[in-house]
């Protein structure tokens, strides 16, 4: 790259610094004070303004010299080299086993709140794995994914309320209902692509939320569904008193942490199962067809594949995972209301998929951990959470536009026969 003159970015640097000062001054430089019953506007302290000025100067200098700063990383060919201890299949299997073991032992070494947080991470991993099918593999931008999550959660909540279903009975039904909803959404959006598809799916997610909110007689409206029971372990309950409780059966003292650990392990098993299923799906004809659809719909048709069926299968199977995650969410929370299924949830799940690297399983898992843990760890910066969220997205797009761990193409050894083609 030819060296640019030192002050080539002068205009854009001025602009950036000006923008920083303007936004900073409007957000932080003015303060509202209540004077009796009226509100008065007054300027912030001089110190704030000095800090603002310094921030503006910093932005100015950075923008001015950005081409001359050492590059953080080249963003096109950034590929993580596989570390030396992970090269062979045997080593990989060993590390996989060790990780699994650590994940299983984890809840016994830490406190209740950490286990709870880990369970939340696992729910998001499951959601992101499902959305990854629709967005990452089939290339259909879905902004209403939370709708299927809500369907799963309410399926369990309502089946329990009206028919007394247990978690284990409701789980497959929740997956099935979410799948049917996914299939139904698939139909009207078959002809849409890109931005139009995104808008319609966004509307779909909102429709589900509004329906749940307004069908008060059926769903309890904004009051939600409460006292949803926890799952049982082969009929053993995790409660202090009851006919058939876990601690009595095993003859140990009652401890509320048992239930939390049980939920964690349950979520872990669901996630492992999901990862396994999607891993197989990707290598199966249906997974190949999803990717082909993302690459070129016309070529798909010219080879006899029906884009309709491929899209519907992606929506349906993707939604199923959200349905399972929803039922699990309902049982973990004991209480669900339409508020839990707002658009921001869809946005977070989509962000996880994009951050992780579209179509990449491991990347999505890492991104889910980051996206759920960071806001929790940064609780003190509560006011600035969304700001940090935005900053992280911007930095990711600069540093790694293809995601944390971009999907790798499967490598298959072919038998080279040199035999005559028959």
């Amino acid at each position: 790259m030819p060296k640019k003159p030192l002050f080539a970015n002068l205009t854009s640097a001025f602009f950036a610094a000006g923008l920083t000062l303007f936004l900073g001054a409007s957000v932080m430089g003015l303060r509202l004070n209540s004077e009796g019953i009226t509100l008065g506007v007054e300027l912030a302290s001089t110190q704030t303004f000095v800090e603002l000025g310094l921030a503006g100067l910093l932005v100015f200098l950075f923008q001015l010299f950005r081409d001359h700063l050492p590059k953080l990383s080249s963003n096109t060919s950034a590929k993580l080299a596989i570390p030396s201890f992970l090269r062979t299949d045997k080593q990989q299997r060993l590390w996989l086993m060790l990780t699994l073991g650590a994940l299983l032992l984890f809840p016994f070494t830490t406190g209740r709140s950490n286990i709870d947080l880990a369970t939340l991470v696992l729910i998001y991993i499951m959601l992101a794995i499902g959305l990854n099918i629709v967005v990452g593999l089939a290339g259909l931008l879905d902004l209403g994914y939370v709708g299927f999550y809500a369907v799963g959660a309410y399926t369990y909540g309502l089946l329990y309320t009206y028919f007394g279903f247990s978690f284990w009975q409701a789980l497959p039904v929740a997956g099935l209902f979410a799948a049917i909803t996914g299939w139904l959404l698939g139909y009207p959006v078959l002809r849409l692509r890109g931005d139009y598809l995104a808008i319609v799916t966004l509307g779909f997610g909102e429709i589900i939320r509004l329906l749940l909110n307004n069908l008060t007689e059926l769903t309890g409206g904004p009051n939600g569904v409460s006292r949803i029971p926890k799952p049982t372990l082969f009929g053993l309950e995790f409660s202090r008193r009851g006919d058939n409780t876990f601690h009595e059966f095993f003859g140990i003292a009652y401890d509320p942490v048992h239930r939390v650990i049980f939920l964690y392990i349950l979520a872990l098993l669901l996630v492992i199962l999901s990862i396994y299923v999607v891993r197989r799906l990707i290598r199966m004809p249906i997974g190949r067809a999803w990717e082909a659809l993302r690459e070129d719909e016309i070529a798909c048709r010219s080879l006899g594949m029906s884009p309709t069926n491929i899209k519907l299968s992606a929506f349906t199977i993707g939604a199923t995972f959200a349905g399972f995650a929803g039922a699990f969410f309902a049982t973990r929370q004991s209480f669900i209301s339409p508020e839990s299924f707002a658009f921001i949830e869809s946005a977070i799940i989509l962000a996880i998929v994009v951050l992780g690297g579209m179509g990449s399983q491991l990347g999505v898992v890492l991104a889910a951990i980051a996206m759920v843990l960071l806001p929790e760890l940064a609780r003190e910066f509560n006011e600035y959470r969304m700001l940090l969220f935005g900053l992280m997205m911007v930095l990711m797009m600069i540093w790694r536009p293809q995601g944390l761990l971009p999907a790798k193409r499967p490598h298959r050894e072919l038998k080279t026969t040199n035999a005559e083609v028959k």
Binding site: V277, R280, L281, M284, P285, I286, R288, A289, E291, A292, E295, D296, I298, A299, C300, R301, S302, L303, G304, M305, S306, P307, R409, P410, H411, R412, L414, K415, T416, T417, N418, V421, K422
Partner: protein
Amino acid sequence: MTQPLLEVKDLVMRFGGLRAVNQVSLDVQEGQIVSLIGPNGAGKTTVFNCISGFYKPSAGEVIFKGKPMHRLPGHLIARHGMVRTFQNIRLFKEMTVLENLLVAQHMQAERNLLKGLLNLTGYQSKEQELEDRSAEWLERVNLIEFANREAGTLAYGQQRRLEIARCMVTQPTLLMLDEPAAGLNPQETQDLDQLIMELRDKYKVTLLLIEHDMKLVMGISDQIVVINQGAPLAKGTPAEILGNQDVIKAYLGEE
């Protein structure tokens, strides 16, 4: 003469007031190589799109293996054994070369989800079969060493060969090539020439092609159909076409 494999009768395609294709008819006999030629903008690709179902013809009939095709969507036509390539290559660019061939055999694959998820032997052997057929064709078009490369990273000529291989793994009866020699160097064109002859003679595939390279067309075609400004101009063997005054006029203008 027996019933032709593909019969196009009085095909008309209108776009608003424009008649892009006007009363074009052509027959393709089984085992022949038929070329569709004409000056730029003559409507050759539009004819292709109508035959393969990507456009719905405004009027006329397309009969393939004795069955009407002109009302079917493209993917159902393809399932009858009529597949095509595209003028501006349409590969699945981010998938590997091998995956391109595997995905092309989607209709032959074992698509039962449960069998696949449980990795049953029936599924495995079917996948192996698809892989073997892909390998055969990769060897035939000299791309076996690139099997695990992303298709988008191949050189232009290789991409053209891969697109033909992708059609062939579906085991078609009729292969339609839209300007297969466009952008190829003389050596590659010669190889293509040979490949097309081999497809007909060895794999018993019938071919319909659009081509600009006159040397290639005259050398391999059994029949040539010339269209000009959407309308049929001439039909015949290469020798007949070369001597046709109308064709010379359409290509070179009047004296």
